[in-house]
Symmetry: C2
């Protein structure tokens, strides 16, 4: 019974990591659509989100089956409930890349991001994408050390967000209100993707060690 | 056993409704801080969020205790797992009001919302607050009809958000980039509060009927 349970649990984490890879691809493509103004890429992200939703449903169903049939207690129970919460957070990261893609689509064939803030926005996207990529790995390998490290790197996103505000609100800004609003919202979306990655990483730590790391008040 | 279980479940929903009332107060006060520029009120919201976090922890602990001790299956299991998810969403609504309060604090003693968009922002705040208030009631009474109705009212928030963008990007806008960025982010926060209220209402429907209503792709 215990062995069957742990096989099922492993299966859930493998599926969750696979779903995370779909989301990683969404984030990458959304950023590409954003920085090139390519409508077809933006559309692809928006459609791809259905596959992520389907993956979520499958994982949720499996979790409930295992919960019902195996009746886990203590640590095992917490692990399954954590998996259910992680699946929601990974799905949210996908939704947020759809939001990025929608801003790209709204401005196409123009590019929503003016050259002046492109380095900052691009760096935000790189950080977010890297965090998603690392969290996929962390899920599949339940790698505590990498998870703890991910939590630390969150600071870079905060700095980038502050830098983007300084750019938007500085005297040099001459791209008007529309672009500024786009950049502010894009910053929010990338920041939230990073927040979710950290939160998922913390849940992985928790499922392995039983210890819940401090949650960001965000 | 079954009776004890249902008493415990009722207790969880009562606590969740109580936590929701704390968040309702946070949303109300955050809006008040925003529209008056009152720093003390903004600070009060930011500090009050600790009580919401404490309420979340208490409810989560109870859920895990009940899950471990009662080993519920099928509908009862889904109800408890739903409660765990609702508690996260109610907490997020609190976090989002903290974000509103932080924008208020950033601009105090000025008011972040220019008169030109005040009617729209105020209406967004009213809709969000009303939805939170109704969802607290829906949780405590497990009122399916009210929950289904709440899902329908979400459309008003979407319209208000579109209206606010039209105002920010119209020719009449003469409040500059900073105010526009504030309004765009405030709109996002109120919209997310409303989304979470709808999502919690849908989960209440699910806990009672076993049917999960269509989730918004957002």
């Amino acid at each position: 019974m215990r062995e069957a349970f742990h096989d099922q649990l492993d299966g859930i984490f493998i599926d969750l990591s696979g779903m995370c890879r779909l989301v990683e691809e969404e984030v990458r493509e959304a950023t590409s659509a954003l920085l090139t103004g390519d409508a077809a890429t933006a559309e692809r992200v928006i459609s791809a989100d259905r596959a992520v939703d389907a993956a979520r449903e499958k994982i949720e169903d499996t979790c409930f089956q295992v919960l019902s049939l195996q009746q886990p207690v203590a640590g095992d129970l917490r692990m399954l409930v954590s998996a259910l919460r992680m699946v929601s957070e990974v799905e949210r990261m996908g939704d947020l890349s759809v939001h990025v893609a929608k801003i790209a689509r709204l401005r196409t064939p123009d590019v929503a991001v003016p050259l002046q803030v492109r380095p900052t926005v691009e760096q935000m996207a790189i950080v977010a994408q890297d965090m998603v990529s690392r969290v996929c790995q962390i899920i599949s390998e339940r790698d505590i050390e990498a998870a703890v490290e991910l939590g630390r790197d969150d600071e870079e996103m905060d700095q980038l967000r502050r830098r983007s505000f300084a750019e938007l609100l500085g005297d040099e800004w001459n791209h008007g209100v529309e672009a500024a609003v786009d950049i502010a919202l894009l910053g929010r979306y990338y920041e939230r993707i990073a927040d979710h990655a950290v939160s998922v990483a913390n849940r992985v730590v928790y499922t392995v060690t039983g210890e819940l790391r401090g949650r960001r008040e965000d």
